[in-house]
């Protein structure tokens, strides 16, 4: 997995609450059997004026001039500023894949939906929670200053603004460790294979029906 330590990059807005994963990446693009290539369809229905098709070349599609990611000032953004309950709805991991593929490394919001939050950590993308007021400050500063960049420092758990404001954020120790070191979750869990086998052996005795095979 891609590691995440400290980044500095342009911040771009997704200024509405309850952004669902259907909005982040619409269903027609979920037909891909790959993990990559979703960036061009990130926020497809907001970004373009026509209906997107899977496997379609997107250069030349009519752009929605009102959508911030189409504005020159937000090009090459790597930090997405968002509102509460970001990533609600479907469990599709295509949502963090699309954000990552587009170039985002971090999403800052007052709250995230549980499954989306979890999925981000599996893909080197940092979902970062600040308070409503702190997020509002960042939005205001960003709107006021084209080229506005944020520094996100995971080891010290800080967001630093161009003006030197510092906001602290919380993150689980284990997730932080995995993200900083780009660790493969599965490899770590398999190191506990003996504990898993011991659990299974006990359960096979106490609840044997749980181990009946699914048969055809």
């Amino acid at each position: 997995m891609k590691s995440f330590s400290k980044i500095t990059g342009i911040a771009a807005p997704m200024d509405r609450a309850n952004v669902d994963t259907d909005m982040i990446i619409p269903k027609q693009f979920l037909k891909s059997i790959k993990r990559t290539g979703f960036g061009k369809n990130l926020f497809d229905e907001l970004r373009y004026l026509d209906e997107g098709k899977p496997d379609q070349e997107c250069t030349g599609r009519p752009l929605n001039a009102e959508f911030p990611l189409n504005h020159a000032r937000y090009q090459n953004a790597s930090v997405l500023l968002a509102r509460k309950n970001f990533g609600c709805g479907s469990s599709r991991e295509h949502a963090p894949w699309a954000l990552d593929d587009y170039g985002f490394r971090c999403v800052i919001a007052p709250s995230f939906a549980d499954i989306f939050y979890n999925n981000c950590f599996k893909n080197g993308l940092l979902p970062l929670v600040l308070t409503d007021d702190e997020v509002e400050v960042l939005f205001q500063q960003m709107y006021a200053a084209p080229g506005y960049e944020l520094t996100v420092d995971l080891p010290s758990q800080q967001v630093v603004t161009p003006g030197g404001d510092v906001f602290h954020f919380e993150v689980d120790e284990f997730r932080k460790h995995c993200l900083i070191n780009g660790l493969d979750d599965i490899g770590l869990t398999l190191e506990q294979a003996d504990a898993i086998k011991a659990y299974e052996a006990e359960r096979r005795q106490s609840a044997p029906w749980l181990f009946d095979a699914v048969k055809n």
Binding site: R16, A17, N18, D20, D22, M23, P26, K27, Q28, L30, K31, S32, I33, K34, R35, E45, E51, D55, R83, K84, N85, C88, G89, S90, S91, R92, E93, P96, S111, A113, D114, I115, N118, N119, K122, N123, D172, E173, F174, R175, D185, I186, T189, Q192, A193, A195, I196, Y199, E200, R203, A207, P208, W209, L210, F211, D212, A213, V214, K215, N216
Partner: protein
């Protein structure tokens, strides 16, 4: 031992390893797999040279992409007209064959929507931990199980290790007491709950649904309610085990055999919250006050009673919420103060993992029997949740009732709930839908979804606009 909630008990029973930072390794008993969120997970296994830890704990079936017309289904996978969909369904077949996973393939009579097939087959049982790469996995919580959706990386993790890295959620009790009015369905109950607590109200919680209303509810009704826990932000919803649960489970294909039944039943009888167990949050509703619900906006919390009007954004004090309401009204082509019953429908969709079980089919059929679809409604589609539901409905003659009323009777799948197959709304079209999400574009680009119960959807299809099904059924 201290009094524990149902969720506490399920968590404790599956704890393999607790870590100091609060995260834990949790054992997964059942893993259900479909074609959309699994290909990258299988590819990950292949690249790392890994095999499934316990391959016979997995059951697969294609549902999201499958066509629902007899014509397109006739020749199986190769008959799927959309080449991208065809590749995805074919990839599931290939992966299941390669890894030795049991799959109910596209034209197997047991094929269907994952969350219908799981309980129906008995693959999902009380007391289990159940995961699937789909957020509506919470449906299975109706069995008294800990069930929730996971992402594709976690699908790979569970395949490889039989475990999940998880953090214990908080406990929420949603208690609905009293008696539901005549004609009020489980769908109305869960929409009313979401309307009350909001789409993020359950974030970070596992919800237990308790009280008179759920005790009196059928298993299928409980599945409808647990299914939409995620629409209230909660990954998992659940209902305690009782006689209704046990009667439902007994005799299903993968249910414990006679020899093990007594032992299983004894264990399952304990799957209730202890008296005095602590809930971090308690929400109560009065069942008698719940009206037939209709969503008017682009989030499941934007819901009102059928006799109400579309709300006015100016009355909302929260600025972010107000902007959301304004945007929703614009997208939906509705105006504040408009009567819900004046909303005209272009299409009707009866189906999805929320409402495609036999009781849903019966409820809709009862409303349309002897009536005709309104001419102004372009299409009314009924999509059973599985091949077995379809066969049962046909044995009861429900298909004929629908067809005589001008409703289409389709092959099983997710269909227009998320429009990954050919079943979708056109831009600007209003749909009375028994599905679970009214997000922008969810049922088709520019489509306008109104979430309702099967009976309400059926009645809207006959009238051409929303009506109170309780008054409607009485009319002749």
């Amino acid at each position: 031992m201290a009094a524990r909630t149902l969720y506490d008990k399920l968590w404790d029973a599956h704890l393999v390893q607790q870590r100091a930072d609060g995260s834990a390794l949790i054992y997964i008993d059942r893993h259900i797999v479909h074609e959309v969120t699994s290909p990258q997970a299988f590819e990950g296994l292949r690249l790392a040279g890994r095999k499934p830890w316990r391959v016979d704990s997995v059951l697969a079936t294609p549902d999201h992409n499958v066509p629902t017309t007899v014509k397109e289904r006739a020749s199986g996978v190769s008959g799927i007209e959309d080449p991208v969909s065809q590749i995805q369904v074919k990839t599931l077949d290939d992966n299941c064959d390669e890894f030795g996973i049991v799959e109910y393939k596209i034209n197997d009579r047991r094929q269907g929507i994952v969350h219908v097939v799981g309980p129906e087959s008995g693959a999902c049982l009380p007391g289990m931990t159940i995961v699937c790469g789909d957020s509506h996995t919470a449906t299975n919580g109706a069995l008294g199980a800990l069930a929730h959706g996971i992402g594709t990386s976690e699908v790979e993790h569970v395949l490889a290790t039989q475990c999940l890295v998880a953090k214990k959620m908080k406990n929420m009790l949603v208690e609905v007491n009293g008696e539901l009015g005549v004609g009020i369905t489980p769908k109305d109950v869960v929409l009313a709950i979401i309307g009350k607590i909001g789409t993020a109200g359950g974030t970070g919680y596992a919800i237990e649904f308790a009280g008179d209303v759920f005790r009196a509810m059928s298993m299928e009704g409980r599945m409808t309610v647990c299914n939409m826990a995620i629409e209230a932000g909660a990954r998992a919803g659940m209902v305690a085990v009782d006689d209704i649960t046990l009667d439902y489970v007994k005799g299903r294909i993968y249910a414990p055999t006679e020899a093990q039944w007594a032992q299983a039943e004894a264990a399952w009888r304990d799957l209730t919250s202890d008296a005095g167990a602590h809930f971090d949050e308690v929400v109560t509703l009065n069942g008698a006050e719940i009206m037939p619900q209709v969503s008017w906006g682009t989030s499941p919390e934007m819901v009102v009673g059928v006799a109400d009007v579309v709300p006015t954004p100016e009355a909302e004090v929260d600025a972010v919420k107000r902007e959301g309401m304004e945007r929703a009204l614009e997208y939906m082509g509705l105006s504040a103060g408009q009567a819900i019953q004046d909303i005209k429908l272009d299409r009707v969709f009866i189906g999805s993992c929320t409402n495609s079980r036999i009781e849903d089919m019966r409820a809709a059929a009862q409303v349309v029997k002897g009536r005709k679809k309104a001419d102004s409604v372009k299409q009314a589609m009924v999509v059973p949740g599985s091949g077995l539901v379809k066969a049962q409905a046909e044995a009861e003659g429900l298909d004929k009732i629908f067809v005589e009323a001008g409703f289409e009777w389709r092959e099983p799948g997710c269909s227009m709930c998320l429009a990954m197959n050919a079943d979708k709304l056109g831009a600007g079209e209003h749909c009375a839908s028994t599905s679970n999400r009214n997000f922008e574009g969810r049922q088709g680009y520019g489509g306008r979804t109104h979430l309702v119960s099967p009976a309400m959807a059926a009645a809207a299809g006959i009238a051409g606009h929303f009506v109170d099904v309780r008054e409607f059924v009485g009319q002749e």
